[in-house]
Subunit: 321 residues, 2 copies
Amino acid sequence: MAERNNMTALEAAEFLKAHDGYLILTHVRPDGDTIGCAAGLCRALRQAGKEAYVLENPEATSLFTPYLEGLLSPQGYEPDTVVAVDMAARGLFPENAKQYLEGVDLTIDHHPSQEFYAQNTCLDAGRAACGELMYDIVQLLGGITPEIGEALYVAVSTDCGCFVYSNTTPATHRVAAQLMETGFDPYPVNRRHFRTKSFKRLKIEGMLAAGMELRDNGQTALVFLTLDMLREVGAEERDIDDISAFVGQVEGVKNGITLRELRPGECKLSLRTDPGDLNASAVCALLGGGGHAAAAGATIEGTMMEARQAVLEAMETVRKG
Amino acid sequence: MAERNNMTALEAAEFLKAHDGYLILTHVRPDGDTIGCAAGLCRALRQAGKEAYVLENPEATSLFTPYLEGLLSPQGYEPDTVVAVDMAARGLFPENAKQYLEGVDLTIDHHPSQEFYAQNTCLDAGRAACGELMYDIVQLLGGITPEIGEALYVAVSTDCGCFVYSNTTPATHRVAAQLMETGFDPYPVNRRHFRTKSFKRLKIEGMLAAGMELRDNGQTALVFLTLDMLREVGAEERDIDDISAFVGQVEGVKNGITLRELRPGECKLSLRTDPGDLNASAVCALLGGGGHAAAAGATIEGTMMEARQAVLEAMETVRKG
């Protein structure tokens, strides 16, 4: 087992200066933070005169692949130094990265759940995004070009919902300010990631709104995502990413219930609650699921209407305590 | 006519320290910037030992009125010093503020179109929000409490769409960081202003999505907002605020057309374009309207389908040059 060697940003930068022949790994279901950190670090290492590549991530969507253009490792590349970014756990290695499971030289991360699987780890769990920490490290490697600035801005801004989520700190804003000063144009980036939805996504959201059920004087809202709706729109998985957040935006709603039909007779429940009002995890535990106090889920056998009944009853049971 | 005396933030702070008996004015159709600045300045003046009130703004919606609680001027209050915030022009005075049109002692603003109607003006047109400038001024008045921080955060964040719009600068992020450090909880504020929609708004958006027409390989999108739709949902004006931005979020769309039925036989066109591709102002000029290169509008006589035809033809005409 690798020793738990937690490096500071300065030590991580010294490590990166002292080695060469880099391959950078990103996690499964890649998001802006892992991709942005990989792209930013790869460019910064090259800027510092190193050989550096990012391992292709087969799950990366077209939203993020442009940031990796020109950075992917060629067939048969044999790295000397393997760096994992924003990867908390062994279970987050994509299939093609599993050969490096025991060979990661440095992990740079911000998750409190970090498993310390690597030879060296630079962890700062106080950061909203791994990109915040990466900025500190990359700054120590030399000048930050606009392309590096853009990649790290993508990392930081996407992981805090563009400075809206509760993980956003003053430090997050200060890093954003410094990244903007590297000279890239943030507006197209913001538009791309925060003001754009697919036509199919909008159609699905419209259907959810049309069929939304409000209860308890508007404090509880239910939406129903059926296989028929997905079929009618021709929606793919990317079109319904994080769809369980949709119901939570309704003014006045404390408890948002999303029921998604997985196959006829099986539903996925996602429950978002105001945890002061109702513990989502306790409700979902009654249905064989689990999660956090404010966001939990369960898989329910039965039709959508049976699942609806089951959730409402479980909520009632937890309320009565 | 008032002389064009443009004060620095320091001079404005000195002015505020030297006077007393304040009444603060906000503009018509009040937004987060004017309300947040008024609330923040009023609290800061009181903190500095001054008598200060905000003049009630009859158009302020429930989204913003909570920030003014306890700050509104009592019936018959006779101010010694009148300050207007975020108010660029004489035409932006609410009805009950018009008695002060010639009596504003100080205007604090960030609009390049500032008319210099006041005795003294502190204008910084380089700021994304008046709240950014207000932060500089209020800091010079003394300690910033969490309540002042929250009010100015509302001002700054709402005027830049929560750091998404192209007016956002590194300075905007730095002010946000400093305001967060005053100690208020930014999450409920962010949720309230950036992650909440009325149920009726969601229903209307759903209807727009369901009826959306895509043309030119998805580069042009049209949505139709009819009187019947508004009636069916029972939507009020607040539910369709800035609805013409809706169509612009569709992935791949360069030209977003919103047609709103004003009354049978009359439609309002809102056109948002990628100005490199098509000049919205030129298109709307052909229809008797006008605006900017990226956002313009016109009122069109005829049915919705006739208006649709007229817009598409005007776009074609401008394209052919």
